[in-house]
Symmetry: C2
DNA sequence: ACCTGAACACCGTTCAAGT
DNA sequence: ACCTGAACACCGTTCAAGT
């Protein structure tokens, strides 16, 4: 079952569409700032500047900063889910896809997993959707799936936070993990 | 080999001792704020208030806020390492100790693992020391030890960040992890 | 030696006011 | 409908000045 990534764009009036487009444009700019300079650079003033307006104007398009972060989390989960889905059901390939996505999108990854996201601001089920390939890869056992997901998250999180000693062989750590959970 | 938790208190002059004591008192207050109200409550002004001075005065005892955070990380690693050492070499007991420590010290845990700590501000080797019980439990294989440590970190981090669906059976996820890595 | 008050350059956010 | 300028209550941090 391959459900497409949820895109919350119900049909509506042209003005609502314009508003939504502007919002999307702001989110694009936010993502660009995130990629270029990291989370700490993503301030409302910087974002406003990037999109060509004053900071208070942003609040016509975003409820507050948490709203912005939730929207970016949504994008991150969608993008990640697509990568995992594309990797197919093989555990080793999945693990590789997971790590690659995280390392090429460090700021988005931290945002997607590192903050206690407001579940009520995300489109329902997107988390499950993003994790579905993992569940499939371990044969549907949800406990095992959570264990694998946690192991992958831990490896990535520690790597992104520079937690390993300088010369550590992380490939070997990943291999040990994959072996432990059975190929 | 049971090396004691490093405590950086070389003998020195009485005035230096007084200064260090004051610093320790500030760190105690900081830890208390952390436990009581979380990281976001730990501001320099709040801390100064708690210890009975003005915010700028803190800078006579702390280089800057990162210095404060590094000192708290040090305390966290020491405390965690003690818990793990006390748990002994059994993997299941170690896992339980790891999870318990994290859940009873959520703010300290997040601080100890969640920020890319300045290694040069910590007493050297404290990370290795804290992780030593894990390495011992898996029989000295460092790759495997890193895999286990990452798995435990992932489970705890996702739990602390409310990443699991509301009714998720986390005990089962831990059990699956322990089984995967062999008791 | 230790502490304070005033200040600086930032934050997120609100609100009246403009078009 | 959309945007701005001024303002508020915060940050971390510096610095001259007091004792």
């Amino acid at each position: 079952v391959t459900t497409p990534a949820p895109t919350a764009t119900p049909q509506s009036s042209p003005v609502a569409t314009r508003r939504a487009a502007r919002r999307e444009q702001i989110l694009d700019a936010a993502e660009a700032v995130l990629v270029a300079d990291g989370v700490e650079a993503l301030t409302m003033r910087r974002l406003a500047d990037e999109v060509g307006m004053q900071a208070p104007s942003l609040y016509k398009h975003l409820r507050d900063k948490d709203d912005l972060l939730a929207a970016l989390q949504e994008r991150a989960l969608a993008s990640m889910g697509e990568s995992l889905t594309a990797a197919g059901p093989d555990l080793a390939r999945l693990a590789h896809a997971y790590r690659s996505w995280a390392l090429t999108h460090p700021a988005l990854y931290a945002l997607a997993t590192g903050v206690p996201l407001a579940r009520d601001r995300l489109t329902p089920g997107i988390e499950d959707w993003a994790a579905a390939p993992l569940v499939a890869a371990v044969g549907g056992d949800e406990h095992r799936a959570r264990a694998v997901w946690a192991a992958a998250h831990g490896l990535v999180d520690l790597e992104l936070n520079d937690r390993y000693p300088p010369g550590a062989d992380l490939d070997a750590a990943w291999t040990a993990t994959i072996e432990a959970f059975g190929s």
